[in-house]
Subunit: 253 residues, 2 copies
């Protein structure tokens, strides 16, 4: 004669906490406002700090919060839409885009990149580092891999080092006729160097956009761009993207 248990699956505390906090953020806080510190919040809700942190982590993952060590937890602004697919059929650096050249060097690429570029495992390629800013905040770090065969006329005299060298590689690249490109998006975690560029801690969640550029019947360049997953919404297609935030739970019919 079992007691009818509609709540046979008790909701985890951190999940419930997250819901409560989320609603509080919607109604009682405004963007940029700082929350009470974690110890106070945990005490207020009667949970251990670790449990409170589990809820905060999810809210940060969803772009609702921003936490900075030594400073505090603040209410994050809505995610910024970042166009990723509108430069269709354009080489990187062609338009006046938001990318900022960092430097460039001739290095041995990771094995997986060498496979995609169909270069030999011992062939060095040009690696151009760029970073992307929006509203004064860094949103992406990119590594652009360009086989030497794609830019045969690049002279060492033209391109001594650093930014100038990066500019020269892109300039040479644009002399090729771009035949197409494709992209893939997946979730990753920031490597130490990317994290530094993105002003995040290592391991922070990132959206990795891998783009192949085709010319001359093969992959002429490969871009691996790492976007901050907490602050970015990647947009593809005709216009600027969609302003959808799923915060309120859809009510059942």
């Amino acid at each position: 004669m079992g007691t009818t248990q509609l709540e046979s699956v008790p909701e985890p505390k951190y999940w419930h906490l997250k819901t409560v906090l989320s609603e509080a953020l919607d109604s009682e806080f405004s963007v940029g406002e700082i929350l009470p510190n974690e110890r106070d919040l945990a005490a207020r809700f009667g949970v251990a700090r670790a449990t409170l942190r589990q809820a905060l982590e999810q809210l940060e993952l969803e772009g609702r919060l921003q936490r900075r060590r030594g400073v505090g937890t603040t209410v994050a602004p809505p995610r910024v839409g970042v166009a990723v697919g509108t430069e269709q059929h354009a080489w990187p650096g062609t338009a006046t885009d938001a990318w900022q050249l960092a430097d460039s060097a001739l290095e041995l690429p990771p094995a997986a990149v060498a496979v995609a570029l169909e270069t030999g495992p011992e062939d060095t390629v040009h690696i151009v580092r760029r970073s992307r800013m929006t509203h004064g905040q860094p949103v992406a770090a990119e590594l652009l891999y360009v086989p030497q065969s794609s830019v045969p006329d690049l002279s060492a005299i033209d391109a001594p080092s650093g930014t100038a060298r990066a500019r020269a590689v892109l300039r040479e690249l644009q002399r090729l006729e771009l035949e197409g490109q494709d992209s893939a998006v997946e979730l990753g975690s920031a490597r130490a160097d990317d994290a530094k560029q993105l002003d995040r801690l290592p391991g922070a969640p990132v959206l990795v956009v891998t783009t192949r550029f085709f010319a001359g019947g093969r992959t002429a360049a490969l871009s691996v761009a790492t976007y901050r997953a907490d602050t970015c919404r990647l947009t593809f297609g005709d216009s600027g993207g969609v302003e959808i935030h799923q915060h309120p739970e859809r009510q059942a019919s």
Copy 2:
């Protein structure tokens, strides 16, 4: 005076652990193999279980591991590429795609959706639920919002309920001329209902793909698709995507 500390920033234990485990996965384990349980692993590495779990969590986030309660931790297969942008200029359900219709009903959409569809806050819309399978595994759950004005000829007799009703909505939708579409990708966490469809726990990381379909000079439908972030790589563009996995750290020059 100062001892030269090259290691002035000690690496967190979980981060180092993650690196060690990652290399072990590459060299000593094969896909599908089950790892020792968390308590044993923690003891073997001389850390607390929570610390070990922090490392495992990251590896799962990166798609390297798969953990199932009551079963164990297994080595995950490489992420599956899922085409998201190749159905350019095609209504959902047009081609024989991998989507499986679930059901449909007339409901009040979330406020954010109503704004995007430019319907009134009190207007109900058709909501079609679909799920997407790949290799026998669920990879995505979708909610397709269709304003009643987009499918004026839909008769209640044609579409009584469930799958048949969903099919009827899509059929009517395809009578419109699609003028364009755009998409946005962002990181989210699975709601309870999505989690169930995706065979994950609530809060699991997901890639949310929001697509607007334009017809008749306005947004004729809106799709919010939730993909498993651990197992999926979303591909856009001309071909099937790129097989890049950034596991090995890029070596410095």
